[in-house]
C-alpha cells in the first residue's frame, strides 16, 4: 500500500513515537498533576517537557501559554468562544476549513457576530486590496495557514500587518503547516496559534493545542472542570495553563508528541520540507502531462505544503479514487476535505471536490514513481 493521505493524519509515525507510547503504557500510565506519587510526577514531567518543547518550536517564549486540547478543532473553538462577544466582527478568508468556518457560523447565529471573507481566485491568491478594506473595525482576523485542499501557504506576514493596522487579534490555524514550515508566533505577530499534533508533528491522534501571545488578554475558558489546582474552589481557576486544561489529558499522545518533537529536531525543517516538495513537484509534473486530469495549481506567489489536488476530466471522482485504492493500493482523500469554501473558491465544488495526494517524510521516491506509473496507466 502507498499511503498518500498524510494531510489527514501522517502514517507511519517515527518508530520513536511508537516506542514512547509503549513505554508510557508499560512504565508510567498515571494521571499527571492530580497526585504527587512517583508515577504521577513522571507523567506530569512528560507533559511539562512536551509543553516546553512545543512552545520552543512555535516561538512561544512563555511555555505556560501553550495549552493542550483534544484536537485543532477544539483549540479553535476554545479561542473563538473565549474571545468573541455579541456584535464582534471577524475577518476570515474564503479558503477556510470547517474547523474554523463552522464555529464562526454558529457564533454568527448564537452571538450575532459579523463575518467578512477575503475573496480568493482559483489559485488561492487572496485579494489583498479587498482585504484591506474589509479589515476596518474587525476584532479578529482568523485564517488557515496551509490550505488542506491545494497546499497553498497563506501569507502570514500580510495577515500580521493587516491585523496590526486594524488593531485586531490574529488567529492562525496551522494544522497543515506546523512541523513542516517554521512558525514563530512572536516574529509573525500571531496572537492565537492553533494546530493538531497528528499531522506534520507526527504525534498520535487525539491531541491538539493552542498558544496565546503575550499581548493577548486571557480569554474565557471554553470548558470547566477538575484541574488539580485550587481544588477547594468551585469556580474555574484563572491560573495558566490550568484554566484551559480541565480533565485528564491524552497522556499517550502527549508522550508521543514529546518523542516526535525530539525526532523532528534531529531532522530539521529544511530536510522535511525539501522531501515533501520534491515529491509534490514530481507528482505535479507527471499529472500535468496527462490529458485526462486537471491539476489544482497554486498561485506562483505562494509557497505550498506537500499537498496536491487534482480531478479527472471525464470520470467520476470517487470511481477513480476507488480504482487507485483497489487496483493500485494507493490511498488518497477524495471529496470536499471538510473545506467546501476552498472548493467553491477554486471552482471544484461542481466536480464534487478533488482527489488529494499528500506525501510525508516517510513517503519514498519509489512509491511516488509507482503512483506516477499508475496514473499514466489509468490515463491510457
Amino acid at each position: 500500500m502507498i499511503y498518500l493521505d498524510n494531510a489527514a493524519t501522517t502514517f507511519p509515525k517515527p518508530p520513536d513515537v511508537t516506542e514512547a507510547l509503549v513505554s508510557f503504557m508499560t512504565h508510567v500510565g498515571a494521571n499527571p498533576g492530580r497526585s504527587a506519587h512517583t508515577l504521577s510526577i513522571e507523567s506530569a514531567t512528560i507533559m511539562f517537557q512536551c509543553r516546553k518543547a512545543l512552545s520552543k518550536l512555535i516561538g512561544q517564549k512563555d511555555f505556560l501559554r501553550t495549552f493542550f486540547t483534544m484536537n485543532a478543532t477544539m483549540a479553535i473553538n476554545t479561542c473563538l468562544y473565549g474571545l468573541l462577544k455579541e456584535g464582534d466582527v471577524v475577518l476570515a478568508t474564503s479558503l477556510e476549513h470547517n474547523a474554523l468556518m463552522r464555529p464562526l457560523r454558529m457564533l454568527e447565529k448564537t452571538r450575532g457576530i459579523k463575518l467578512r471573507f477575503i475573496p480568493s481566485d482559483v489559485t488561492c491568491k487572496l485579494d489583498t486590496k479587498a482585504a484591506k478594506a474589509l479589515a476596518h473595525g474587525v476584532k479578529l482576523i482568523a485564517c488557515v495557514h496551509g490550505n488542506n485542499v491545494t497546499g497553498a501557504l497563506m501569507p502570514l506576514d500580510f495577515f500580521a500587518t493587516l491585523a496590526r493596522e486594524a488593531g485586531a487579534y490574529l488567529l492562525v490555524d496551522a494544522s497543515q503547516s506546523a512541523g513542516l514550515v517554521e512558525i514563530d508566533m512572536e516574529k509573525e505577530g500571531i496572537d492565537m496559534l492553533c494546530a493538531s499534533a497528528h499531522k506534520g508533528l507526527y504525534a498520535p491522534m487525539g491531541l491538539g493545542f493552542f498558544s496565546l501571545s503575550s499581548r493577548m488578554d486571557a480569554i474565557e475558558s471554553f470548558m470547566q472542570g477538575g484541574t488539580g489546582s485550587r481544588s477547594e474552589e468551585e469556580i474555574q481557576p484563572e491560573l495558566l495553563p490550568d484554566k484551559y486544561e480541565s480533565g485528564t489529558p491524552n497522556m499517550l499522545a502527549i508522550a508521543g508528541l514529546l518523542s516526535a518533537l525530539k525526532w523532528r529536531e534531529s531532522i530539521g525543517y529544511e530536510a522535511m520540507y525539501a522531501h515533501e516538495m520534491r515529491q509534490r513537484t514530481q507528482l505535479r509534473e507527471a499529472l500535468k502531462a496527462l490529458d485526462s486530469v486537471v491539476v489544482c495549481d497554486v498561485h506562483e506567489a505562494y509557497a505550498t505544503t506537500g499537498v496536491l489536488s487534482w480531478y479527472p476530466k471525464a470520470q467520476s471522482l470517487s470511481r477513480v479514487a476507488q480504482t487507485l485504492n483497489n487496483q493500485y493500493g494507493i490511498l488518497t482523500r477524495v471529496g470536499l476535505h471538510c473545506s467546501p469554501a476552498t472548493h467553491k473558491s477554486i471552482g471544484t465544488l461542481p466536480h464534487g471536490g478533488t482527489i488529494r495526494f499528500s506525501p510525508s517524510f516517510f513517503t519514498t521516491d519509489e512509491e511516488i514513481e509507482r503512483v506516477i506509473w499508475a496514473m499514466r496507466e489509468m490515463g491510457q
Binding site: 499527571p32 498533576g33 492530580r34 497526585s35 504527587a36 506519587h37 504521577s40 510526577i41 506530569a44 514531567t45 507533559m47 511539562f48 509543553r51 505556560l64 484541574t227 488539580g228 489546582s229 485550587r230 481544588s231 477547594e232 481557576p237 491560573l239 495558566l240 495553563p241 490550568d242
Partner: protein
C-alpha cells in the same frame, strides 16, 4: 533552613523544581502538598539550604507565584 514552596499548578511546581534544582545550592524534592498548608491536590517543592531569599528571587524573576512555608 527548610520548608515548602507551595505552587498553584502542577506546571509551576515542575517549573520551580527545575529552576531550584539547577541552582545546585539546595536540596530539593517534589512532594505531595502538605494538607496543613493547602487543600490543593497537587505537589509542592520541599527545599533545604541556606539563603532562601536567593531561591525566592529566582522564582520571582521567572514570574512564578508561590507561598513559602518554613518548617522547623
Amino acid at each position: 533552613m527548610r520548608g515548602y514552596f507551595l505552587l498553584f499548578t502542577t506546571s509551576s511546581a515542575l517549573y520551580a523544581y527545575e529552576l531550584l534544582k539547577e541552582m545546585e545550592a539546595y536540596k530539593v524534592s517534589l512532594v505531595p502538598t502538605p494538607r496543613e498548608f493547602s487543600s490543593d491536590c497537587g505537589m509542592a517543592v520541599y527545599i533545604e539550604g541556606e539563603a532562601m531569599e536567593m531561591a525566592m528571587r529566582c522564582l520571582d524573576e521567572h514570574r512564578i507565584e508561590y507561598e513559602f512555608k518554613s518548617v522547623s
